[in-house]
């Protein structure tokens, strides 16, 4: 992989730090009144999720990481791995629980997700901002209560638990914002 000099750093750049692939979350140029400039970077370790800060001298460079974000379709779960397919190459990738993380509760077959590959292996899976999932279980809906007023828990077919308005019934399909885990509307 190419090396990146600190003056080419930008948000989203993927680099290797201490052997792990990391993504730059925030890049700040620091220049004292007199003296050399520094680049202060907030990094996210793509394997562990840890976010921390490191400072680089202006002429320092770091190795790029072979990390690719690829749009894929979720195929199935075999009890151990979650399988995703690249719709362009039809290639299948198996991701373990570590890579799938919390995203598993939003995975519905054939849904589009973004799979991050490091040296060709999935290291994280990001769902679309919105998913449409069916309610598997919730208390019966209250007739007439269609506008404001309380909420209740609902379990979706993927196992995710979300708060929904009282008028929602079992079997309905809902639109959920995966970034907040909140109910948006009926689908």
């Amino acid at each position: 992989m190419a090396n990146h000099a600190s003056n080419q750093f930008k948000n989203g750049l993927k680099v290797m730090i201490d052997g792990d692939p990391c993504s730059m979350v925030d890049v700040e140029f620091v220049k004292p009144g007199k003296g050399q400039a520094f680049t202060r970077v907030k990094l996210r370790n793509l394997l562990t999720g840890r976010i921390w800060e490191r400072t680089f001298k202006s002429n320092e460079s770091v190795e790029g990481a072979d990390v690719m974000d690829t749009d894929m379709e979720y195929s199935y779960f075999d009890g151990e791995l979650w399988y995703f397919m690249d719709p362009n190459t039809f290639e299948q990738f198996g991701a373990d629980a570590n890579a799938v993380g919390d995203t598993k509760k939003w995975l519905k077959e054939q849904d589009k997700v973004m799979v991050t590959l490091f040296n060709g292996n999935p290291i994280s899976v990001t769902p679309g901002n919105f998913v449409e999932l069916e309610v598997a279980e919730t208390d019966p809906g209250l007739k007439g209560d269609t506008a404001q007023g309380g909420s209740k828990p609902a379990i979706l077919t993927t196992g995710a638990m979300v708060r929904v308005p009282l008028f929602i019934n079992q079997g309905e399909t809902l639109k959920i914002d995966t970034r907040t885990g909140e109910y948006v509307s009926r689908a």
Binding site: E28, F29, K31, F38, S58
Partner: protein, 322 residues
């Protein structure tokens, strides 16, 4: 595409315009002359850590290009005017610095720089405070020495602490792989990463009496304890560096020595050798009045006045859209 649009809201540009007018009124009332020195020069700044933007000048379209430099500050030119008897002068205009781009930097930025014959740096700090207090709605500006801020926020003396101890202290606060045997690099890291953010609690503060090694174009004199310090100050507001001023060096021989030292350091660091402004040395040899001078980042002043988080919010068309 929306990148034809300014990044700064029009309301911010209106406030910016008002602040520029306020600055000009301030100097008009005090009989400081506004001048308009060149932005493009045959010489470049000597400071190894400031990179001038090169421009190619041609006498006619097919001629070989002559390299000129966009000014990183009007300092050299303004000092030549002072030596020619201009009296107090200021420039409110553009300056350019290669590679300086970020939340608080735009490679082309607006700088206010002024010189006051007969004032020392303490008196100039008074004037800087009088200019910025009404713009920023601040009612006082504290004054602390470089040593005091290091003692207050890190419990160490920046002048006497060993290089190794500075490295250890820095690595306690900042993760970094680099090494360096220049004390100033470590002091700068501690200042920018640890102290500056905490200076925000004071709202507005002048830090003065910098280490002699960070004098740039300031005079060096003994402080109360007999240590050599630079007669240099910086103004920080909300932890953001806003202005940098000196009781100016007027000694031509020392000026020539510092230019040569910068050029040597550039060579050691593998940085480009650029033509030095020897006309400044000639001007000082002809006689520069004792004076204090200061440069202030106007974009940052507007950011602070408006509470803007990013410089793009106060510059109509920043670098990427220029």
């Amino acid at each position: 595409m929306t990148d034809w649009q300014p990044t700064a809201p029009i309301e911010n540009l209106r406030r910016r315009g008002e602040i520029l007018a306020q600055i000009r009124q301030f100097f008009a009332r005090r009989d400081v002359l506004e001048v308009d020195v060149p932005l493009m020069s045959h010489c470049a700044v000597s400071d190894p850590f400031i990179d001038s933007i090169e421009v190619a000048y041609r006498a006619f379209p097919e001629a070989a290009a002559e390299t000129l430099y966009l000014q990183t500050s009007p300092e050299y030119a303004l000092k030549r005017l002072l030596c020619a008897g201009s009296g107090p002068v200021y420039q409110l205009g553009k300056a350019f610095r290669n590679g300086e781009s970020g939340r608080r930097h735009n490679p082309e930025f607006t700088m206010l720089e002024w010189y006051r014959p007969g004032l020392d740096e303490q008196q100039l700090m008074d004037e800087v405070a009088e200019l910025v207090m009404p713009i920023l709605a601040v009612d006082k500006v504290e004054r602390l020495s470089y040593q005091q801020v290091f003692e207050r926020y890190l419990g160490l003396n920046p002048h006497t602490t060993s290089l190794e101890a500075l490295k250890t202290e820095t690595r306690r606060h900042v993760e970094l792989a680099m090494d360096d045997d220049d004390r100033d690099s470590w002091l700068n890291l501690l200042m920018s990463h640890v102290i500056e953010p905490q200076l925000a609690e004071l709202r507005a503060v002048f830090v003065c009496d910098y280490p002699a090694s960070q004098a740039a174009l300031a005079q060096v004199r003994e402080d109360a304890s007999g240590r050599l310090v630079a007669t240099r100050f910086e103004l920080f507001v909300n932890g953001i560096e806003l202005a940098n001023g000196y009781y100016e060096l007027t000694d031509a021989v020392e000026q020539a020595r510092r230019l040569a030292a910068d050029q040597r350091q550039r060579a050691e660091l593998g940085l480009p050798q650029r033509p030095l402004e020897t006309r400044l040395v000639d001007a000082l040899a002809a006689g520069m009045p004792d004076c204090a001078g200061v440069a202030l980042g106007v974009d940052r002043l507007v950011m602070l006045a408006l509470g803007a988080e990013h410089i793009d919010q106060v510059i109509a068309l920043p670098f990427e859209r220029a």
